[in-house]
C-alpha cells in the first residue's frame, strides 16, 4: 500500500548558542491511508518536531515529504493541527476562533457558519459558540482545538500530546470522543504522546523514538475496535511494550 503521508530522510538541526543541535537525522515516517499512527517517546526527544517538520513549521535541513506518492513542500498538504495547549485567541469567541482557521483554509464565508455549527455540535460545544475561551474549562478549550482542526476538513490530523495537560477523567472522555470522530471521518491521524497507555488505546501502530531522536522500534496494536481504556488485554499489551520500550531506553 502506498503511504498517504511520507517523510524520508528527515533531518532537523537548530542553531543554538552552543553550536548546532541535531534534533533528528535521516528519519523516515509513513502514515498509511486511514491509519492512526502514534509517535511515542520520552520528553524532549523530538516527537513534536517530527509533526512540525512535516507541517512545514520548522525548516528541514534535508529530507523529502511526499503526499499520495508525490514529493511536496513540507506543509503543502491538507492537515489540521491539534496542539498540546489549545492555542485559542482569548479575545475571540469560540465560533470566531474556528472562523479564524476556516478563513486561513480558504473556506468561503457562506460556508463557515454551518461548518462551525456542525463541528461545535460534534465536540459537544454547540451552546458555547459565543463564549470566550477563558469562560471554558481546560477540557472544553481542548475540544475547541479539536473542532478547529477538524472544521478545516483536513486529510490528515496532526495531534501533539493534546490530552496531556488534562485531568484523567476529562482526558479519557476526550480520547473516547476522538476515536469516535476518527471512526466517523476516516481521517489519517499522526499522534504524538509520551503516554504508552494512551498510545496503545488509540493507535493502529506505534513508532518508538529514543532520546536521540531515532525510531528504534515499532509495534502494531492488533486489538479490535472500539477499545475500552480499562480493557485488561490493552493493559497486557501496554506491559509487553513497556518492557521492550524501557529495555531499549535503559
Amino acid at each position: 500500500m502506498t503511504a498517504l503521508l511520507e517523510g524520508e530522510d528527515l533531518t532537523v538541526r537548530f542553531e543554538t548558542d552552543d553550536g548546532p543541535l541535531t534534533v533528528f537525522e535521516g528519519l523516515d515516517v509513513q502514515v498509511e491511508p486511514g491509519e492512526f499512527l502514534t509517535v511515542m517517546g520520552p520528553s524532549g526527544c523530538g516527537k513534536t518536531t517530527v509533526l512540525n517538520a512535516l507541517a512545514g513549521l520548522v525548516p528541514l535541513e534535508r529530507g523529502t515529504v511526499r503526499y499520495d506518492g508525490e514529493a511536496i513542500e513540507p506543509g503543502e498538504f491538507s492537515y489540521g493541527y491539534v496542539f498540546q495547549e489549545p492555542r485559542l485567541l482569548d479575545w475571540r469567541t469560540v465560533a470566531e476562533n474556528l472562523a479564524f482557521a476556516l478563513r486561513g483554509a480558504g473556506v468561503p464565508e457562506a460556508e463557515r457558519g454551518s461548518r462551525i455549527e456542525t463541528w461545535l455540535d460534534r465536540v459537544g460545544l454547540a451552546d458555547e459558540a459565543d463564549s470566550y475561551p477563558r469562560e471554558l474549562s481546560g477540557g472544553m478549550r481542548q475540544r475547541v482545538g479539536v473542532a478547529r482542526a477538524l472544521a478545516v476538513d483536513p486529510e490528515v490530523l496532526l495531534m501533539d500530546e493534546p490530552f496531556s495537560s488534562l485531568d484523567d477523567v476529562t482526558g479519557r472522555g476526550l480520547r473516547r470522543d476522538l476515536l469516535e470522530l476518527w471512526g466517523e471521518t476516516g481521517k489519517e491521524i499522526l499522534f504524538v504522546t509520551h503516554d504508552l497507555r494512551e498510545a496503545v488505546t488509540l493507535s493502529d501502530r506505534v513508532l518508538f523514538m529514543d532520546a536521540e531522536g531515532a525510531f528504534f522500534d515499532e509495534a502494531e496494536i492488533p486489538h479490535d475496535r472500539p477499545r475500552d481504556f480499562d480493557d485488561p488485554a490493552l493493559g497486557e499489551t501496554e506491559r509487553r511494550l513497556a518492557e521492550r520500550f524501557f529495555a531499549e531506553l535503559g
Binding site: 492555542r87 485567541l89 478563513r103 486561513g104 477563558r134 469562560e135 478545516v152
Partner: protein, 250 residues
Amino acid sequence: MRRWLRVLVTLLAFLLAWQAGALVLGPELLPSPARVAARLAEVLAGTGPRDRGALYHLGRSFARVAVVTVLGLALSTALGLAMGVDDRAERVVAVWLPLWMTVPTLVVVLVSMVLLDFSEWAVVAGVTFVATPFATANVWEGARAVDPALLEMARAFDVGRWDVLREVYLPATLPQVLGSVRYLLGMVWKVVVLAETFGLDEGLGAMFRFWFNQGDVTAILAYLSLFVVVMVALQYGFGAVSDRLLAWQG
C-alpha cells in the same frame, strides 16, 4: 465604598482644602471655589478677548488635541506593530527611540513654533513629535509579548499575514494601545495648552496667557477648572470604552 461616593468624597475634600487655602492666602492669591465658579459661569456665558467665549477656546484646544491624539495613535501603533513584527523595522526605529524620547518637550514645542511660523501645524507637529515615541515604545512592548505559540498556530492553519496582524497582533496589543490612548490624551492636552500659551491667540493656553498678563488669577482658575473638568470627563469616558473593549479578559 461605591465608586461615585468615592469620587464625591474626593471632590468635597479637594474643595474644602481649596477653600481653606483661599482663607489663608486671601482672594488676591487664591480665589475661593465659589468666586471661581461664578467667574466660570461668566466666561462661559459671555465673550472674552477677541469677542470669543470660553467654549470657543475650549473647542479650538479640543480640535488640536483630537488631531494630535489620532495622529500620534496611528503613528505609534503602526511603528510599534512594525517593530514587533519586523526585525529590520525594530533595528532601525529602536536606535532612534531613546533619542526621540529624551528631547525636552519645551525645546520641541519652541523649535516647532519657530520653524512652522506659529501656525496651527506648528502645534500639531510639535505635540505629535513629543507624544509619539512613548506610545510607540508601549505598543512595541505589547507586540513583542505576543505569544509565539499563537503565531505558530496561525501558520499551521495557513492564516495570511494581514489576518494575523488584525486578529492576533492588534487584539493582543490592545491593552497597550488603549494604555497609549490614555497616555496620549493626558499628555497631549498638557502640551497643546503649553504650545498655545507660547505662541497662539486662540485656545485655552492663549487664554491662560491673556489672563495672566491681566493679573486676573480668578479667570485663570476658571479656565483651568474648565480644562480639568474636560480632562477628567475624557479619562472617565475612555475608561468605560476601554473596559468594554477588554471585556474578554474577564
